[in-house]
């Protein structure tokens, strides 16, 4: 195996078999073409037997400081990201499922909002995440329950620096966008301390042609004499997001590691007006604010054949939604004043025990205790006095699993997992999962893998208790998922590396929860659908060393995700049975290409989403069209290494071809836009 400065190839395959333990150096641009090792099947951790996984490495995550995890997932994975605009709610559809079917963890702690079930990925700056991986379908059972689509695992890691370090990056972009990132680090043999902060602000008032609306020109008698489609600015779209992350790690050097992670975010975002809004921007203030603290203390105890880890954490989230109207003289009166608070206490313990080289036994138990308060409306009561529409609830969520992993012979692995969950006082049935994999051909590292699991997702607190509409009689959703796939990896002699994988999946979800309007003017959730989500995920990586100084890396994903309503017709006129779920594209694809030469680097990103239906009947109406779109972004980066500091200069162009596109109806997206980043890392 060639080491540093030789050209090696890594595989960021679904079977992360390929990804060895070594991560890319953090600042690979300045280190030359300095690459991680190739992994072969035999070196793969037993914990990953049969797992379908996509790992996102630090090159991908640290592309630029302005990006959120929503952007990273869009361009680097097969997940569909549904975005309501720039720096607005961005949710994911993993394998054709809904946002709450993707479980999300940060350093082991589940961070899905317990009220809504989903995670807003626009609220997670990718510069705060050092490792991220997608656990597809069944593979999520190893980590957590409820991931009917899968799970996204994000974590932070010690910077592994010695002495003091500082990195500062500033970005200035279109629409009065300013991004700043500061990181201070300190490290020695035992301690690693890091403080990171990101501040993003933007007027976000991009121009777009409004296809949905016309402006009228009247004569003096108020007859329309002309109409035109206005070029408008994104109205009420400004944002200011601040994130601070403090980490302290202590390594005894004798097999014990202690860690502290504390992440504070403060977000103040306007909610952009629809393309079909005819109000005066100044007449309304529509704003969402969030302040969240997430803190985790961890202890890992490592021995040669066993490992134990304990974590404790706390989440506090305060969210405010204010919709105000100018009632004259600039007085803004509340139309809606909604507040919610979530406090979550988290504790987890896990252990691993190796019996020889062929057996591994693991056990894991996690508890999340939520305390939720939702105050959605202030009203005047019948008898006078004020009342509040909302709810206050607490729920304990326990999830425990045990697994046995066995390699009967070299090249074959079997893993059995059982998981059990308890939400409130309700237990899930046993959640079983079985994984097998095996080397089919040593030449080409061809590995076959298959897995099957049962899974359940409990209703969220809003599903059960939201006023009005919450339905305490909801059943938990349940599903079976089957996975089978092949992967390969060739290359390795320093010229090229090609790897790829294809996975077929098939899942049946019963009692899918949907919120439907009632005749009383509000929505209420019901267990209404049976969904058959199936398809194929393909991924390929090509790394080519064109010379000692040139490196080309290509990464591509494609997924075909029919997600079909197989429930009973709601009424005789129901045309939705047998049809694709709305807002889930059948085809999606992404390609990223990175070409580097010495300290130059050119990154090209492309993604594609097929047409999304906006109706469950899959009818395409004139007012409900969401055509397919392609997105192209390009970034050029240059690094300068000086005696006193490393400097980076980066320019990025988003939406290179100035495409007009929509992710969600009536929510305009920005056209071509630019941002320049300057980074400095002093040497002292």
């Amino acid at each position: 195996m060639k080491r540093l400065l030789s050209i090696l190839f890594a595989l960021t395959l679904l079977p992360s078999a390929a990804l060895a333990q070594d991560e890319m150096p953090k600042d690979w641009l300045h280190s030359g073409v300095n690459i991680r090792e190739v992994a072969v099947y035999g070196n793969r951790p037993m914990k990953e037997i049969g797992i379908q996984q996509t790992k996102l490495d630090s090159i991908v995550l640290k592309e630029n400081i302005a990006l959120s995890m929503a952007d990273i997932l869009t361009f680097n994975t097969s997940i569909f990201v549904k975005s309501y605009g720039r720096a607005t709610l961005s949710t994911v559809s993993f394998r054709g499922t809904s946002p709450s079917h993707t479980q999300v963890t940060w350093n082991g702690m589940r961070i899905n909002n317990p009220m809504l079930g989903m995670t807003d990925f626009s609220m997670i700056p990718s510069y705060f995440i050092d490792d991220a991986s997608l656990l597809h379908g069944t593979s999520s059972v190893n980590e957590t329950g409820g991931g009917l689509g899968g799970a996204i695992k994000m974590s932070t890691a010690p910077a592994e620096n010695r002495g003091f370090g500082l990195q500062y990056i500033q970005g200035i972009g279109s629409f009065k966008t300013f991004d700043e990132f500061l990181r201070l680090t300190y490290g020695d043999d035992h301690w690693q301390v890091s403080t990171r902060a990101v501040l993003s602000t933007s007027a976000n008032d991009y121009k777009y042609r409004n296809h949905d609306k016309k402006e009228n020109i009247y004569d003096e008698n108020m007859n329309i004499v002309d109409q035109y489609y206005p070029v408008e600015r994104n109205r009420s779209g400004s944002f200011r997001d601040l994130h601070i992350l403090q980490e302290v790690y202590y390594n005894t050097g004798r097999g014990d590691k202690l860690g502290l992670n504390a992440w504070f975010l403060s977000s103040n975002r306007e909610l952009p007006m629809l393309t079909t809004d005819y109000s005066n921007e100044a007449s309304f203030d529509n704003r969402q604010r969030e302040e969240t603290f997430r803190g985790i203390l961890s202890w890992e105890h490592l021995r040669s054949s066993w490992k134990m880890a304990v974590r404790a954490g706390y989440i506090h989230t305060w969210m405010a939604y204010d919709y105000k109207r100018d009632v004259g003289n600039g007085t803004m009166a509340h139309m809606t004043r909604s507040r919610s608070k979530v406090n979550t206490i988290y504790a987890q313990a896990e252990g691993e025990y190796y019996i020889g080289k062929r057996w591994l036994i693991t056990a894991n138990i996690a508890a999340h205790q939520h305390f939720v308060e939702s105050r959605d409306k202030n009203i005047i009561l019948q008898q006078g006095g004020n009342g509040i529409v909302g709810y206050r609830k607490a729920r304990i969520e326990l999830s425990g699993s045990a697994s046995v992993k066995w390699k009967p012979v070299d090249g074959v692995g079997i893993s059995a997992v059982v998981r059990e969950e308890m939400y409130g006082d309700e237990f899930s049935p046993i959640i079983p999962a079985l994984f097998v994999d095996g080397v089919i051909s040593k030449r080409g590292n061809v590995v076959a893998k298959a897995s099957v699991s049962r899974n359940y997702r409990f209703p969220t607190l809003n599903d059960l208790y939201f006023l009005p509409g919450g339905n305490p009689d909801l059943r938990k959703e349940s599903g079976w998922t089957y996975d089978a796939g092949l992967s390969f990896a060739v290359g390795g002699s320093g010229i090229y590396s090609l790897s790829g994988s294809a996975t077929w999946f098939d899942s049946y979800i019963h009692d899918w929860i949907l919120w439907l309007p009632t005749t009383k003017g509000f929505f209420s959730p019901k267990n209404i659908k049976d969904v058959h989500a199936y398809g194929v995920e393909v991924q390929a990586n090509l790394d080519v060393a064109l010379s000692k100084e040139w490196l080309l890396k290509l990464n591509g994903t494609y997924s075909w995700t029919p997600s079909i309503n197989e429930g009973e017709p709601i009424s005789a006129a129901d045309q939705s049975v047998g049809k694709q779920l709305p807002y889930v594209p059948k085809h999606s694809s992404s390609i990223t290409g990175r070409l580097s030469w010495r300290s130059w680097s050119l990154l090209y990103k492309w993604c594609y989403y097929s047409e999304r239906f906006t109706m469950s009947s899959n009818d395409i109406s004139l007012t409900g069209k969401l055509p397919e779109y392609f997105m192209n972004n390009i970034t050029l980066e240059k690094g300068f290494s000086m005696r006193w500091a490393d400097l980076t200069l980066k320019g990025t162009i988003n939406n290179l071809f100035n495409e007009e596109y929509l992710s969600v109806l009536s929510h305009p997206m920005p056209g071509i836009n630019f941002e320049i980043f300057i980074g400095i890392t002093p040497k002292w």
Binding site: N216, Q227, T276, R325, M335, Q382, T519, K520, S621, G624
Partner: protein, 355 residues
């Protein structure tokens, strides 16, 4: 190496040749002036998606045209089409979350003007050619507008109502007085003097009166939904009320079972029969003392969302929103309850308007 580079570059260029096929609509010409009666259907569309539409049905030929506003004007109707009223050949379509009321020619469906910057409009009622009221939700004011100038000219403040719990709905005029039901977290009908634009009286009914009509005997009818379980405002059995417009007092209360969800009180053309939805479709003579034992149309497994009665023929139209994310279905029944026609319209058909 250069070959590889060229291939890579070419591949990238290939990938970038694309464009989303999203362009302006085309204006289509309609002229329905030849047909006699016609029925407009306001399809709410999904909140925040701006996919409200207007459908037009010709009962004589049993033909429906969908998305007529978009097709005639090459622009969207907007977000949540709430209601429509016709006056002097102009249709006024209230689009709630677009903060707008569109005025359209009822034969060509072309826009002739619009009133903008409303808070959250629900219904419009004309006092005269130059004065109309527009009720709102999340506002404690009824907006006074000049429909000729498309201007907001003033407000009627409703007492004991805050912006947050503000809700004024349907309007019925009796002489110079206008009655308005206050629905969301409210329990009253208010009385407005249309000369002074002031609320001069109010009548407490049950929790959340949803609709308001006036029959041939000048009796107002409203039905409450009774609130919902867990509401701090209360939850009770809903009721239908007959109110005398002259004395503004409740004449009769017809109680439903706890948990019933009645809605959509409508009148026939002669205004001597009221209709409403409560799982089934119900009809009752306006002089009846009690609710009939059997419904006009029994529940057929779906929750109806809208109801209207043809003023000329007495045909009853009910709208089924199905799962609320597909084209809804309108069923047309004769006055004796036989199915005459059924047709798909837009998403969430909620309100009707007769030409």
């Amino acid at each position: 190496m250069s070959t590889l580079l060229r291939i890579a570059m070419a591949a990238m260029l290939l990938l970038s040749t694309s464009c989303m096929k999203w362009d302006y609509g085309l204006e289509e010409s309609f002229d329905t002036s030849a047909s006699g009666e016609g029925l407009f259907i306001c399809n709410e569309g999904n909140f925040q998606y701006g996919n409200a539409t207007l459908s037009y049905y010709d009962p004589a030929t049993k033909t429906v045209q969908n998305e007529v506003f978009f097709r005639a004007n090459a622009m969207k109707l907007g977000d949540v089409a709430q209601s429509m009223v016709i006056r002097n050949g102009i249709g006024w379509v209230i689009v709630n979350n677009s903060h707008v009321v569109f005025a359209i020619d009822i034969n060509t469906f072309k826009e002739v003007g619009r009133i903008t910057d409303l808070t959250s409009p629900r219904y419009i009622h004309f006092i005269s050619d130059e004065k109309a009221y527009i009720t709102q939700i999340w506002d404690n004011r009824i907006f006074i507008v000049n429909p000729k100038r498309y201007e907001i000219t003033g407000y009627i403040e409703v007492p004991n109502m805050t912006m947050e719990s503000g809700s004024t709905e349907q309007m019925v005029q009796y002489g110079k007085y206008l009655y308005v039901n206050c629905w969301s977290y409210q329990n009253r009908i208010i009385k407005i003097d249309t000369e002074t634009d002031e609320v001069i009286d109010e009548l407490t009914v049950g929790i959340q009166p949803t609709s308001l009509v006036m029959d041939c005997n000048n009796k107002l009818w409203t039905v409450t939904d009774g609130g919902y379980e867990g509401s701090p405002y209360g939850h009770e059995a809903p009721s239908l009320y007959r109110i005398d417009a002259e004395t503004f007092t409740i004449e009769q209360q017809y109680k439903f079972d706890f948990g019933d969800w009645p809605s959509e009180v409508q009148l026939n053309g002669a205004k001597d029969t009221i209709y409403w939805l409560n799982d089934d479709v119900w009809a009752m003579d306006v002089t009846a003392d009690r609710v009939p034992v059997r419904p006009f149309l029994p529940y057929n497994g779906t929750l109806y969302y809208g109801l209207t009665v043809c003023p000329r023929t007495g045909d009853v139209y009910v709208a089924d929103a199905i799962d609320y994310v597909q084209q809804g279905m309108v069923y047309r029944y004769s006055s004796s309850g036989e199915l005459i026609d059924e047709f798909y319209v837009g998403i969430i058909p909620g309100a009707f308007c007769w030409k």
